[in-house]
């Protein structure tokens, strides 16, 4: 059974796709880990800000496409959760390193 027909559905994504992870093939010349962390942080922050503005528009009565709002809310929640998990892991790794006996 070919899945080509199902691939065609991907062309109908009207909602902005979620933040895709960057797969940099070359770890030596690509952006540093710190750079990637701060980029990711900035993107999550931007998404949260957009969500807040959408909610404010909703409160004032400005027309907001409801399905986009709900999807963006859920994406914000998931990306915030992911960011917090990454931060927790990084902190744990750092603490592990601090505990190492020289």
């Amino acid at each position: 059974m070919s899945t080509d027909a199902i691939q065609g559905l991907a062309q109908h994504d009207e909602v902005a796709p979620p933040i895709a992870p960057r797969m940099d093939p070359d770890p030596l010349t690509g952006p540093s880990f710190a750079q990637r962390m701060s980029d990711g942080l900035r993107e999550v922050n931007q998404q949260l800000l957009t969500t807040q503005v959408d909610l404010q528009k909703l409160a004032v009565g400005e027309p907001v496409p409801l399905h986009e709002l709900m999807i963006r809310l859920e994406e914000s929640r998931i990306s915030l959760q992911l960011m917090l998990q990454v931060r927790n892991r990084v902190l744990e790794a750092y603490q592990d390193m601090l505990r190492m006996q020289v």
């Binding site: 009565g61 027309p63 409801l66 399905h67 999807i71 859920e74 929640r77």
Partner: protein
């Protein structure tokens, strides 16, 4: 489209249908009222519902601002129905009594059509409401 606007659209449609029903009921009620010489004659009323622009304009505008139907009630200008009844107190010189030119069959058909259209508008509104409430369930804990 703004989900709130769909309610306004359905409400406007229901108002049009309700006006149709009221007009038809009024016409039927007045169908057999004889008209005397010193009273202004009752003209059966007709409802004229117009959309603000044609369908082409709607498609061009892209459903951003949807024109709502507007309704005016005006006399239909149908000539009076003359019935020969010399003994009637309101008969004119030639023995004819004038009744409003109301066609009961047409009014009944209008009533049926307006009822169905009203129900259709209610169905549209209920569907819009269900869709909006379902949209709220996106991301609800599974």
């Amino acid at each position: 489209m703004d989900y709130l606007q769909t309610f306004a659209i359905s409400a406007a449609g229901m108002a049009v249908e309700r006006t149709r029903v009221e007009t038809a009921a009024l016409n039927l009620a007045q169908a057999h009222t004889a008209q005397s010489a010193d009273q202004p004659a009752f003209q059966p009323l007709r409802v004229v519902a117009t959309g603000a622009e044609g369908f082409g304009g709607l498609v061009r505008a892209g459903l951003e601002s949807v024109p709502l139907p507007s309704v005016t009630v005006e006399p239909s200008g149908v000539p009076a129905r003359l019935v020969h009844d010399p003994g009637h107190p309101l008969a004119d010189g030639r023995g004819f009594v004038a009744y409003p030119g109301v066609d009961p069959a047409r009014e009944m058909v209008t009533l049926l059509g307006a009822t169905r259209a009203y129900e259709a508008n209610v169905a549209a509104m209920n569907t819009a409401r269900t869709l909006a409430l379902k949209t709220l369930e996106i991301g609800r804990s599974t």
